[in-house]
């Protein structure tokens, strides 16, 4: 099926599908659309696989494709969404404190997209400010400002210090 690049492509799918899905979810906040975005991302990646020069850049490349696919999707049609319902739909299977986790999700959700995206690229993708700047097409300084403001927004949450103490203990 994938001829020469099959095993390499498979490895990349297995390595990055999870984090790409999470990133996609926070971009569109719809589980089904998020999976479609991941599928389309890998479809496009496979089509251009031979053009990939630097294998070390594959992760940033995939994120970049996904961002573009998301933008294309939302250019084509605006998805009607019930945001609160979406957050409620996320089963909390990993959190040690589901209530606090929901509050944080709501806070992530309520961030402006321009703050949320660099934050998620850093937290989920592990990208540096310079890499985020490259992905988003903005300056590194702008990324740093947005990351700071995003985290300052969390500090405005009622009881955020209590939440962090619980986590630390």
């Amino acid at each position: 099926m994938f001829e020469g690049g099959k095993s390499r492509f498979e490895r990349v799918v297995r390595a990055f599908s999870t984090e790409l899905y999470r990133y996609a979810y926070w971009l569109c906040r719809d589980r089904f659309v998020a999976e479609d975005l991941v599928q389309e991302t890998f479809a496009r990646a496979w089509q251009a696989w031979e053009k990939l020069q630097d294998e070390n850049a594959v992760k940033a490349w995939l994120y970049s494709i996904l961002r573009n696919e998301h933008a294309r999707l939302f250019e084509r049609k605006r998805l009607d969404r019930d945001d609160e319902q979406d957050l409620g739909e996320i089963p909390d299977t990993v959190s040690s404190n589901p209530h606090a986790s929901l509050e944080i999700r709501e806070a992530i959700h309520s961030l402006p997209q321009s703050y949320r995206e660099p934050l998620l690229l850093q937290v989920l993708g592990g990208f540096s400010c310079s890499e985020i700047a490259g992905l988003m097409g903005i300056s590194e300084g702008a990324v740093m400002t947005r990351l700071s403001r995003a985290r300052l927004a969390f500090r405005q949450l009622p009881g955020w210090d209590v939440m962090t103490r619980k986590k630390a203990s």
Partner: protein, 236 residues
Amino acid sequence: MNCMELRRSLLVNPRLRDGDLQTHLAECAACSAFARQMESLESRIEEAARVPVPEALDERVLLRQSMRRPARFAMLALAASITLAVGLGILVVHERGPGGGEIVSGVALGSEHPAVAAISYVLDNEPQLLEEGRRGDPAVMRGAFARLGLNLPANGVTVRYLGKCPVVPSGTGEHVVLDTPVGRVTLILVPEQPFTSPVVVADRDKTAVARAVRTGGYILIADSLKNARQIEKMLM
């Protein structure tokens, strides 16, 4: 590094621990507490951002890629043919006779005819879609049935799959798979793009009926014409 610089750095990256920063933290209790708080908050954000991922997502991605080339061909053919049918009124084959009608072969109509392309789309894509078990919005499906003036069969009929049909232009098509007493049938509902004339076509062991209703049309794919007719009676 002073306190302000340290706090600015940690707001950008709470995991940062370079030499200057470490030195300052060792000497400043207030900043040390701030750093612990920020790190704890960061763990909370990470935890919350890691939403559950659908099981076997990577397997589905790989499976979809392995099926994509033939499937995409059929999808493109169906999209193109529906567009042509709508834009140029290309459906010219008429049914003949009450309840029976003349069945046209897929070869005679060509692979780009909507009914023929629909059969290919179903055969090439449906197994994968059924395996994924995705379910669309039942309210949207009921709305599509209503707009076309069709009854959603109830007795002994189960909706096996429900989703958007990606090949219908403008994303208005619904793809419905029904398990019925006469076997499995597929309905592609096209509520806003009418076909000009009904047609029955047999191709690759399937029979497809394409019919205009109200403001749009549907393509029904079944194992035989007899089964297709029975389902159509239930729809009307």
